[in-house]
Symmetry: C2
Subunit: 190 residues, 2 copies
């Protein structure tokens, strides 16, 4: 019996690709098994269960996204860095909708700590260095930036912006203008 050569890594990659094609929630152990030409049960020698597999895809996506954002931000500061971060983030989400959905899945605390999630937070903080916002407001700004990025991408992907003719890229650019403005004029405590 010829072995199919399944490994956790290949499984995770295949799951990520399948997610981008058909949606993260439609990634199924059965479909992956078919793709590798093995029986479903065989995959359980490599993964604990379906949730385990999805978690691996999430970790892969978080790492990839962090890499791309890091590359985009390198050597930039201020609004330049903000726009580079934001564009890299949105670009990844649009090229890899399934992986992106995975990256947004809830991880148990231990897994989250071992993920690239920390790098995301760090890089966002790095952006804010150009705006000189002290703690605790810096954390508030990190959360706001994360919210806008994720929110925009998420609504856009869900088709929520299709009811208006206004160009979605243009709105994105203006949103980043407004964010830059908000960070430069960060409101003092009333």
């Amino acid at each position: 019996m010829v072995r199919a050569g399944v490994t956790v890594e290949r499984l995770t990659r295949a799951a990520a690709e399948l997610a981008d094609e058909v949606g993260f929630d439609r990634v199924t152990v059965a479909a992956l098994a078919r793709g590798f030409g093995v029986k479903e049960a065989s995959l359980y020698s490599h993964i604990r269960n379906a949730h385990d597999l999805k978690t691996r895809v999430a970790l892969l996506a978080l790492a990839e996204l962090a890499d791309e954002v890091a590359a985009a931000v390198a050597g930039r500061a201020g609004k330049d860095a903000l726009v580079a971060f934001a564009d890299a983030y949105r670009s990844y989400a649009k090229r890899h909708p399934g992986r992106y959905a995975a990256a947004r899945m809830e991880l148990d605390p231990e897994t989250a700590r071992a993920s690239a999630g920390g790098r995301h937070a760090e890089m966002t903080r790095a952006i804010l260095r150009g705006y000189e916002i002290p703690e605790p407001d810096q954390t508030d700004a990190v959360r706001m930036l994360g919210s806008v990025f994720h929110g925009y991408v998420s609504l856009e992907t869900a088709g929520a912006f299709q009811h208006h003719l206004r160009d979605v890229d243009a709105s994105w650019a203006r949103t980043l203008d407004a964010l830059d403005s908000a960070l430069r004029n960060w409101p003092p405590l009333a």
Copy 2:
């Protein structure tokens, strides 16, 4: 044989409640049938299929959310209105996580047009009247506000803010301060 008195309305309500308890994606035809003490197949006299049922929950949630936001915003303007809108939105999402997830599900265009989604957009535009932002930037601002609200709530619900001690309500308040600032200083086209 005593009839259970299932109706589409009762089914939809039960599905919404179940969603809030166990999560929207864990709402299942089987669980609902158990709840009503009937067989699964019986529900198909009332709904077309599971997707149809989920759509009904989405429409219910969109309408409820629009009602609550409308009530909160009534009689307010400027930043007052912004904060009232945002707080009502976030409050609904936290009290009804399952319904909220439903409200964010992708609807086919026709259903979307018949939904309360339009009211949401209108109310957001109403908020912006206090800031006198002309088109097309007004649409950009609508999209930005929607992104922040949805993004924040979504990340918060997914536990993404749990890795830092900073109070989540405080960050929210400061985010709204910053949004108000961004809208008041809406950047001119460079």
